[in-house]
């Protein structure tokens, strides 16, 4: 599922890909800055990042809609080079769906087959199969204008999948849907991908979406690829401050590296934490809110690292309670399972916040 398996060539390989946009007046923008990654066959891979981070540009380069300024892109080992999109074994699901308004659903879905001169009889069977796959069987003769957003999205999917591409590229396809539909479609897409076994490369800015659906995620910011890992690894062991901050919520404890196994927090506390960074390097210790526990002052167990502070805010979320705890030099956010009102701390309480050293990650940047 990840990397190379069974000696098969990886589905997508990007090596040193750079994309620079510039106009003649000299202002240049580097949209994609030296991105290299490998996507395995049959993998559901997401490119995740904020708007403008270059993820869509990267996707478009794989599709052939943009040409890289430098670097190479290979699909199953074959160098794509300057090949235009109509000569690449990939298909794209566009953010706006880009369905052809003057054609019926069936004609839309069959367009790629027509362009590849698949004979009519074969086409019909393939189109029907694809339309059934996305559960749009009864709508084959409708036009896009007569469909809802979710239905159009399925047609766009069918139109791409019917061509059995080696890689399917999806550019924020669920962005225009409302929340409930989006969650539903996420599950459906994931199942679909498992069913057809095609490699999916999915672009999104919604970290929840990426974490839910992907086998692996590539986090990008400002044109650079920051970390490529499974959702769990990215969540538990983010490599940079940006990644830690972008995925879920987290706390940052500023610290300095004291030695190979120790860091010193800003308040002087010492923490046992292994790292490769040189002594004196400025780092941050990240702890997820749900890894922190709040105790009455002095009641924390001994094998956990503790910090003393005072409750500044209590937010009740129904299934959880968020405490904002002020400690000497900063503010910590702690997420606790919902407790009965009697057990809860209140604003002004003196408390001790504790965590296990294994549950933190060290980041730079």
């Amino acid at each position: 599922m990840e990397g190379t398996t069974n000696g098969q060539r990886p589905a997508v390989e990007l090596a040193g890909v750079v994309k620079r946009f510039g106009d003649r007046s000299g202002t240049e923008v580097t949209a994609v800055d030296d991105v290299s990654l490998t996507i395995g066959d049959g993998e559901f891979f997401s490119l995740l990042g904020p708007s403008g981070c270059g993820k869509t540009t990267t996707l478009r380069m794989v599709a052939g809609l943009e040409l890289p300024t430098a670097g190479s892109i290979r699909i199953h080992g074959e160098e794509m080079g300057l090949r235009p999109p109509n000569k690449r074994p990939v298909n794209t699901v566009f953010q706006s769906y880009a369905l052809f308004p003057h054609m019926t659903v069936a004609k839309n879905v069959g367009f790629g087959l027509e362009m590849r001169r698949v004979p009519q009889s074969e086409r019909r069977a393939l189109i029907d199969e694809a339309i059934e796959l996305v559960e749009m069987g009864s709508m084959a003769h409708r036009k896009p204008a007569q469909l809802s957003g979710g239905q159009q999205q399925r047609v766009a999917l069918a139109r791409a999948l019917v061509n059995r591409p080696e890689v399917l590229l999806l550019d924020e396809p669920l962005g225009a849907l409302d929340l409930k539909l989006r969650h539903q479609m996420q599950v459906e897409l994931k199942n679909l991908q498992r069913e057809v076994g095609i490699t999916f490369v999915y672009v999104t800015h919604d970290q929840e979406e990426a974490v839910t659906m992907s086998d692996r995620i590539g986090v990008m910011d400002d044109g650079r690829l920051l970390q490529v890992d499974t959702p769990e690894a990215i969540y538990e062991r983010p490599s940079t401050r940006f990644v830690a901050d972008f995925i879920g919520q987290t706390n940052f404890l500023e610290a300095t590296v004291a030695g190979p196994t120790e860091v010193v927090l800003a308040n002087g506390d010492r923490l046992r934490l292994a790292s490769d960074h040189p002594a004196g390097a400025a780092v941050a210790v990240t702890v997820r809110p749900e890894r922190l526990t709040v105790h009455r002052r002095g009641e924390a167990p001994a094998d956990r690292h503790t910090v003393d502070g005072c409750v500044e805010s209590v937010t009740y979320l129904g299934n959880a309670v968020i405490y904002g705890v002020g400690v000497d030099w900063m503010h910590l956010e702690v997420r606790c399972p919902a407790t009965l009102a009697g057990d809860r701390r209140s604003v002004g309480d003196d408390v001790t916040v504790s965590f296990e050293p294994e549950h933190v990650a060290l980041v730079t940047g």
Binding site: L65, N86, V90, F94, A98, F100, H102, F111, M115, K143
Partner: protein, 285 residues
């Protein structure tokens, strides 16, 4: 954000409402009264124009029997069709080149493309007259082209200003098109020509047809340029009528006018019908 139909506060109240209604009715009467009067008097059995003297179809009979008028109509039709076809092809190609590509000199071309729209027709007429005068010898070298007696000068001139009108209309339509559709076509294995023919063209068709109709109207309407470049014996109807008008008002002109009006209306209706048909999305095959 309520745009479009003005809501309650904009709806004129009381006296102003009736003033507005009356005003609008008056303006519409102003628009149509002369045309209506013209139609009525084309049936007037009298040589003078003012007084009603009885109903007659005589003027129409004379119109259809008049050889000069018939040949003028024929000239107008030929010039109109030829110039429309050429200007639609060139105008659409120009619109595509400007909207879908970026190349050196594009801005200059864009500016030049606007000139024929704003240029006064007198200046245009002068330009073409002078041009053909100076270059007649060059053109006549080309076999088949006979500037002296043929309709070439008319066609060339009409195309010269119609390209811009067609181009403006098609560009407006192109600009509204979702560019990702052409990308989708490419993604689905279509080459540039296939993408154009199967995806772009069907969607700009209303624009192309609108541009064509505009070209037809302008070509038939044109008086000044045509009168400057018309060759002997190749007089379009508008120029012929103009000549008649200088000589004086004649009821014959009325009947010609009515025929021309009816033709224009028919064209407008046809365009509305066609745009309805293509707008609602012709089913592909």
């Amino acid at each position: 954000m309520s745009k479009g139909v003005a809501k309650s506060t904009a709806e004129p109240q009381g006296a102003s409402r009736w003033l507005l209604r009356g005003h609008s009715a008056a303006v519409f009467a102003f628009f149509y009264a002369p045309i209506v009067v013209l139609c009525i008097f084309s049936f007037n059995d009298s040589n003078a124009v003012g007084n009603w003297n009885g109903f007659t179809l005589g003027w129409y009979e004379e119109l259809f029997g008049n050889d000069n008028i018939q040949s003028s109509i024929w000239v107008s039709v030929k010039v109109c069709v030829a110039s429309t076809v050429i200007s639609v092809v060139l105008g659409t190609a120009g619109a595509l080149a400007l909207e879908r590509f970026r190349w050196w000199g594009q801005k200059a071309f864009d500016a030049v493309l606007y000139l024929p729209i704003i240029i006064p027709d007198v200046t245009m007429a002068v330009m073409m007259l002078v041009f053909f005068n100076e270059t007649a010898s060059w053109f006549n070298v080309i076999p088949g082209i006979n500037l002296q007696n043929g309709l070439e000068k008319l066609v060339f001139s009409h195309v010269a200003f119609n390209i811009s009108f067609v181009s403006v209309v098609v560009r407006a339509r192109l600009a509204n098109l979702d560019a990702s559709m052409e990308e989708a076509a490419a993604d689905l294995y279509a080459n540039r020509w296939q993408a154009f023919r199967r995806v772009t063209l069907p969607q700009i068709m209303p624009g192309v047809i609108g541009g064509a109709l505009l070209a037809v109207t302008i070509s038939l309407d044109d008086v000044v340029v045509s009168s400057f470049v018309a060759a002997v014996g190749g007089t379009p109807l508008s120029v012929y009528v103009f000549g008649m008008l200088r000589k004086g008002v004649s009821p014959l002109v009325n009947s010609v006018s009515v025929v021309m009006l009816v033709a224009s209306m028919a064209l407008v209706l046809a365009s509305l019908v066609i745009s309805r048909a293509t707008g609602s999305g012709r089913e592909e095959r």
